[in-house]
Subunit: 240 residues, 6 copies
């Protein structure tokens, strides 16, 4: 059975990871998973938030947002509404947690890296594209800090790599990397964040329609682990 | 090996579900999982939000909040800060999704039920206690609506039951229903929402320390399914 | 003439003051005036707000809030609306002023006590129940600070006791401690805060219908002074 | 004993009430109590807020604010801070309640009058000056509506007059109409709103220092009733 | 051709500049351009915002606002709406920039002057009246600081004078100092801020209807330069 | 004399206008003026804001924003701060006014077009690049509406074209199209919006350092008119 765009169930959309997109940021990536395009910038600065001062440890955080017309119908700007929506909060927190899972705070020293993930065009899987791209921007920012001697030469702030992908069950079939058209029809939707060695950082599965059983959960996890491995390979390829 | 409070790894804390706590709400429950106490009220009203009018379908939503001194250290009120934090948003959304998973919107008709889950005292597992208690308040509100003839006598708006529990790995050991003292030490933390027949509505696992592998994930899911079954039994017992 | 619930005009509703409700707070009380239930917690911390630093004097403040379904009809959360309403502001300020009236700032030293008064169920007189309960929580917090040696052993931060009650004129009859059903019909509504020795800290009388004359004002003050004396006795009883 | 500005204890500051200050508003008054100057405008419009539509009844409300440099030290603008402070809320509500006490909603018909009281210069007693001035602006707006035939010719929306004054105990002496210099030293501070026939609309007494007893309360009420009578005469004089 | 109020095209409305309006502010002016009345206060304090500390340089900033009933129809308060509108922001920034153009920060030393421009009554040209009046208040505040020895006696913080006027094209005719009735009909609207020696600080021209050509632009600039010269004379006259 | 990047004073930076950047929006353009890159999307919908309903006329508005790391140093998100800054407001209003200057509301009918201009990378001139790009997106959205028959075939909603450019005086030399490095050093900064036939829609000149005289103003206007003509040619070229 082939999908609406001709993919097999276990096939990713075309993935591109363009490094060095921005002239200003210490790390910057324009990542695309099919028509989903996310601009990820890493801003590295000396110092840490007040609550962490004097700890000798660094901090990594993330903010996710969508341009108002990234989607098919224009959405109001959160700046205009004067508050951040629950979905935005949730995804920003997910990205931050995912990246912190591969950070050695001591090795980073009292430095902060902020990842901004702005969705320029959305077609499903924006949060997983954001995590996958943000990892590359983060790696570039860490390298930049080492070159600037802001981190000790022998320190290894990154303890591994991180990639993420969505999976879901559509018409009873488990599928990898859902496009928007599939996402809206999915009975179950899961986002999985993996390290490069195939372990889990985050597993978030939600029954959108009927509840799912253990067999379905296992099938989705299998797909996700395979997809993350491919994305890890793509990350390593662009990082040289 | 016994836990700090004498429990075995697969043991819940003492659970109480007190129905009819409030004289005003259509359904109200004071639920406790050990020292965690959450007041869950269900407010049933005729009519639905504007975007749903004319659909013939109902709506269920939830809001979660903590009293400022529910925790060991006083936290600022979100009303005073003028905005809702990401964690609050995230949990409110989780509770709402979990309960909607067992709602037949058509059978509910154009009625709305709002679940308010206010944590009076926190000791770990507030979101899972909230879901477990809110289900009972929701069931009482549905019954109230049927008694008031606001829902057809033959309609069955509830398609199942919902319970939730946290699980986690502490010092390498998978544990059920973490108390706060365990939660802060957990390497992996997972919240699982199940239907009464043992299927999954939501699985949210997060590596707080080291990433977790498939074997650990499976052990946690086993514990959670068992815990949810016990909670389901407790819910059915109080609902008579 | 007897009232809707069988009370005489000068009779309080059943009052309960349950100390030590919370495991976390330095002082905590669940107070009820009939069906009105307010959870009052006192959070004691070292240090004072910036504008008071170096003065050698402490600070006491209060925040009042209602759970959304404390009332007969659900109200929006102020955190969701993003701002605090005028009524909430007004009552928070009243509670703070009332308690500060019996505080010797010098004796308290540079410590702060915050009183949180959260109405779990409302049936008239929430602000007066809050003040009456908060005093007991405050007394417990002061004792806790003395036991922890955060206040000098010989210091007496509390210069007296505080209790409060509502009075009003319903169908031309002055009544003590109005329940909600009476409150909505009252022509005049007054909240009175007294010290244990019968003097006034705050007198707030409002004509809801026709203006009131000096004779009516005097009758209401007589009732209030009597009610506060009974509440003072109840406070002293629970404080041992 | 004479006061810092030469007044006797029962003497008002010089009071001026200038009608027709604004070319735009339906009623407008620049009122001064000594150096306290408040611009009160009444905006009359057809229609009522949504919750009152179809009732056949009108509505009157008020908003109070201070210019940032009305006081000795510049205060931040509430618009810049993005929220209204508790004091502002409290006073706006007091002014609205006071004026509504002399409004016959049925006679007003489904019309709304908004009173804006903006303090141009503050020297104590801003809220009482605002109420006293706003009454005159309100009366002018009612007259305007009658001239425009927006209210029936025979209707009498105003059932009486309203004036307000502050009283307080300074160095043990009860004083009328406190200037700022006296206000900051007052042990007890009371604001009293009276109708023209000497009855009470609002009595708000607060112990700033020591609690006050019944005798002191009575002395303050006597002063306030006398002061309000003088202010009523001034209002009637300018209204011709 | 004469204008609706009898003026010639190059004629200002009657201008009054009343110094020392407020007893509290270091500089204060009630300025009127015809029926437009703006209260401008200058608040001088020692110290500068955090980002400027240690620079040895001072700061001048401005805030503009309108009373809700300054206009023909009542507008909502920005404090009630919880945010400042774009127009208010724009004008506040314009006033601040205009005054900073004649400030020597070094000579001012680490002091801050805040100009508050509150429109009491609006009839067109509020921002230009505000700038013109604020300059006088600023000059008075600088003098006050010199008298208080907060600025060195020989320092000259003011490097020139500033005045502003609006010009526009109505029915094809370039006019000086538009009243509201003219402003709403203008095809082109321009605000010009000049120094006393006839140079430009700010030129803001906007086509409200048809675009304007170079000839029209030149005619407007000629009018504005003439008007600013007259306003400069008026400022110097009141400053003695 | 050549500029830091080798340009002559009257030379634009390389300009690119990429149409059809987004798959979702009715018009979308990625415009670059040198290193300044702005994504402009036009969202066309049927219907108009409430205040315009029934008028038979359409509406065009714009929102401008910067990604947090569009600049050399990361800026806080306005959504996180909960309010829109003055600069953002000012520029959004400028873009909207500029585009409305070439719109025939009647011909547009009761339709709305919203232009979102998001700065992906900033290097001076972001507002002028936004206007220039937004015009092309607007033209595409109008064409789309005509193809969808949402606008009458014979209607011409666009009455002309719009382009904008910045000019300024740096080290005494008038320059066209300032890059950031030049902008921060400019004594005078001016943004000029022209129609394709060389008339002015908006002229905003500001003295950042010394005031400017009429001769300098004229030199800047000459440069701007020339620059806008080149930009108009580029717009027409991409629109075919």
């Amino acid at each position: 059975m082939s999908r609406f765009d001709g993919r097999t169930p276990e096939q990713l959309r075309p993935v591109t990871i363009q490094r060095g997109w921005s002239k200003h940021a210490e790390g910057s990536v324009l990542v695309s998973f099919g028509d989903t395009k996310v601009l990820c910038t890493a801003s590295a600065t000396q110092g840490v938030p007040r609550w962490r001062k004097g700890s000798g440890e660094g901090w990594v955080t993330a903010e996710y947002s969508m341009l108002p017309r990234a989607t098919n119908t224009r959405g109001d700007r959160e700046s205009v509404r004067g508050k951040i929506g629950g979905r935005t909060h949730e995804i920003s927190r997910l990205i931050g947690r995912s990246l912190r899972a591969v950070i050695d705070y001591k090795a980073l020293g009292e430095n902060t890296i902020v990842l901004d993930c702005d969705v320029l065009q959305a077609d499903g899987g924006t949060r997983t594209a954001a995590i996958t791209g943000a990892y590359v921007a983060l790696a570039d920012a860490v390298t930049w800090m080492q070159q600037k001697k802001l981190i000790r030469a022998t320190a290894k702030p990154l303890t591994g790599t991180v990639a993420a992908v969505s999976v879901g069950i559509v018409d009873g079939v488990p599928l990898l990397d859902l496009a928007y058209e599939e996402d809206v029809k999915a009975e179950t939707d899961m986002n999985v964040v993996c390290t490069g060695d195939g372990r889990f950082i985050e597993v978030q599965g939600t029954a959108e329609g009927a509840p799912f059983d253990r067999t379905e959960l296992n099938a989705l996890l299998d797909l996700a682990v395979g997809g993350c491995a491919e994305l890890t390979a793509a990350q390593l390829a662009v990082l040289g």
